[in-house]
Symmetry: C2
């Protein structure tokens, strides 16, 4: 059988009514047999995520502080939600009692204690939701990393699945084959010594992706509170188009610059098996969402999205006959690497080379260290710095073979009087990156959007 | 006193009539007191440069072959030219006898023997021309590296001046101050042991530049057989505009891609002292030539020239989440460096990096070595290669602050149906580089020329 793996984010599991909506979504498609749940998140009137409470509990526990109030707040969330759904308080408290066990465990390994507490939100939620489904006469089984053997590396807070863990996940298909809905907690796995180890924050997306990969799901549905991916930031462009379908690469290029609807690293497992990801809105079932696929059919749109990010700076190094010096570029990049800095782009002219990097990496004095090292090691004719740059990326699969996209983008900037400091079109066939002054960022996104999405009205 | 340093190239000293033209040029401006001469070059009916004869003589001498015929050819050139100008054959032969000495010297150091023979063309020419000037009642003095002490490094065939050598050159001003015209041979200096060491080929340009720098000349005149620098290759664009003035940097960017009117390295000494270089045509005194300066006034032209070069290839490396891997770019460039390859540009996208290099560097098997090393060391998702790329550079000082130049260039490509594989605008403020398929190179240069130079007629 082929299944949809459905992951529900924090707001989609925040309240009893949200949880009943999941039940409704399950009933609409019988292929939805594998659920991955986050911990209860925010909702109207709820200002703290369960996971944030749990982080506080872990921190206080390690400092031997009183956590009763915080533990009470966590328990109250689950009790409120699941009693409303018909579970008895007794059953719920039985599940929640595991938290009391975890806060009293040995503090010898703070990171293990922390992860085991922080993962409780997902674990309890999946367990209780499976009980709720059974109560509704939907046969369901709570399956968790402990029971299935989702083995991960012992990097607490940033664990990665092991080969054995991936192999074990395959068994989930057999459980679904028996007709039961599998309810699985996101965000964590089991380290070699049996302790809980969490993924990086937002890691429930990764859990869903791993299961989708392991069982060869026909689609990975990622349910949140947004309709899908928009073609531009709605805070900048009014009512931007929703993207119906885009490729993994396009999503990655967009998410690089602030489109953070989806946990990036979670894309990797599914890309390898070419499993489509569909972003859906739990509260708007009539919206088909955004489909993320390995290939898409060319459509009338050359450009599918425009993203922007600020906070970049640039070091421009000029040296006469630079290109005669073998290794000049490599040595330049090595200086940045030795100072612990990663760079984004390195456009070059004939006798000059620029290094563009995220300026948030810079500590006081870093700029001087960079300049001193460049002067000492490369003897340039001059070094120039620019701060407060924004990078604007125009994304579209096969973009570089669409003649005229660069011209249209550059013309839009020219018409708006925006100076382009950097252009980086790297033969990736998927994006063109412009570096401009941050003061022009919003204007740039708007004129590009108008050029590529509102061109019908502009013509004639 | 302030002087013009005047260097005359091979065709400008090829025949007796060419040499009288130099005398005429001297008489037109009394500030022309320092001449640097090349060896006699090509002219109508003369198919071998004196320097090429001398290279043959040096090679044959080292192999103990008969050189009498070649020596005869060299002597005949000087005898023909200078007897026509009134020097006695006896005087000429006396000067030329030095060649007989040099071909019989010790062969223990082949490179010293070679350089001392090859430099004879310039040495004899300067010596004889000074005698001709004196014959015309123009007081002149033959000054040479040996007499003034133009000390150079002992890198035969690619020598560089030493600090002492530069200091000694300053004395040339004093000789000119005495009212005499200094006639100096180009192309060589004197190594530490007193032997002749030549500059790299075309190095007479460097001699002139060094003297201009040493004496603080008001202008460095470089006389050849072309009017100046054209804004595009006349073999591609019909009757391209001559550039009236451009900056050192602009010249460098143009010369990078095949505008080789001027020996590149020769620019460096004069740039440091901001001495203007004027390219002039010996045979067209009414043409003011092209002036190369440190700064130029902004004029109506945003773009001053368009150059192109073919024979580039590209390696495109894709790896998901590449920008999270610190040092990825540096390690990529290091692979090319370790294989002894230099690269031109390295444009990048979000998850991809391209390395553009001169494909003439590649030996059979190099491409496979590159790909294997990249796969072994960087584990990319994919590597793609492209061969037969041309780079087109659009040059103009302050270009990047002229809004709309990129748009105009990109539009010209789009209108002509030319696909742009790479764009590299590196914040150098001076050029935009496009990578395209070589099949489109000529068309690209023509449409860019039309866009930036023929726009008056286009706009009607």
């Amino acid at each position: 059988m082929s299944y949809l793996v459905c992951k529900f984010g924090g707001t989609s599991v925040a309240t009893a009514s949200a949880l009943t909506q999941i039940k409704k979504i399950l009933d609409l498609d019988t292929r939805r047999k594998i659920l991955v749940l986050s911990a209860p998140g925010l909702s109207s009137g709820i200002v703290t995520k369960v996971t944030d409470h749990l982080i506080t509990i872990a921190e206080k526990t390690l400092k031997n502080k009183d956590v009763r109030r915080d533990v009470g707040a966590v328990k109250k969330r689950f009790i409120t939600n699941y009693t409303e759904l018909g579970l008895s308080e007794e059953v719920i408290l039985e599940v929640l009692s595991e938290l009391d066990v975890r806060i009293t465990q040995n503090k010898e390994h703070p990171e293990k204690l922390r992860d085991s507490i922080v993962a409780c939100g997902e674990e309890f939620n999946a367990n209780l939701f499976s009980q709720y489904l059974n109560l509704c006469d939907t046969p369901a089984e709570f399956v968790c990393p402990q029971s299935i053997g989702l083995r991960v590396s012992s990097v607490y807070g940033d664990a990665q699945p092991t080969e054995e863990g991936m192999k074990n996940l395959e068994e989930i298909a057999a459980i679904a084959d028996s007709g039961k809905v599998v309810v699985f907690p996101g965000f964590y796995g089991i380290a070699e010594d049996g302790s809980v180890a969490t993924f990086s924050r937002g890691g429930s997306d990764l859990t869903g992706a791993l299961i989708a990969e392991a069982i060869g799901a026909i689609e990975y549905e990622n349910w949140t509170d947004v309709n899908g991916i928009l073609s531009a930031n709605p805070k900048v462009v009014s009512d931007p188009e929703q993207i119906p379908a885009l490729t993994y690469k396009e999503m990655r290029e967009l998410s690089y610059m602030g489109f953070n609807v989806f946990h990036e690293e979670a894309v990797k497992p599914v890309t390898e098996k070419k499993i489509p990801i569909r972003l859906r809105n739990t509260n708007n079932l009539s919206n088909p969402g955004t489909l993320i696929v390995s290939d898409r059919l060319p459509d009338e749109r050359d450009v599918i999205g425009i993203a922007a990010a600020s906070g970049f700076c640039l070091f421009n190094i000029q040296k006469y006959l630079m290109n005669r010096e073998k290794g000049f570029g490599r040595r330049t990049l090595q200086i940045f690497e030795e100072l612990g800095l990663s760079y984004e782009h390195s456009p070059s002219g004939v006798d000059d080379l620029s290094v563009v990097l995220d300026q948030n990496q810079l500590q006081p004095g870093t700029v001087n260290s960079i300049i001193r090292k460049i002067e000492d090691e490369l003897s340039p004719d001059s070094i120039r710095t620019e701060f407060g740059l924004s990078l604007i990326v125009v994304v579209g699969e096969g973009l570089l073979h669409k003649i005229g996209v660069l011209a249209a983008a550059a013309q839009a900037f020219a018409d708006a009087g925006i100076n382009i400091n950097i252009v980086n079109q790297g033969s990736s066939e998927i994006s063109i990156i412009f570096g401009i002054d941050s003061a022009d960022e919003d204007k740039a996104v708007r004129v590009l959007y108008d050029s590529f999405f509102n061109d019908d009205t502009d013509d004639e």
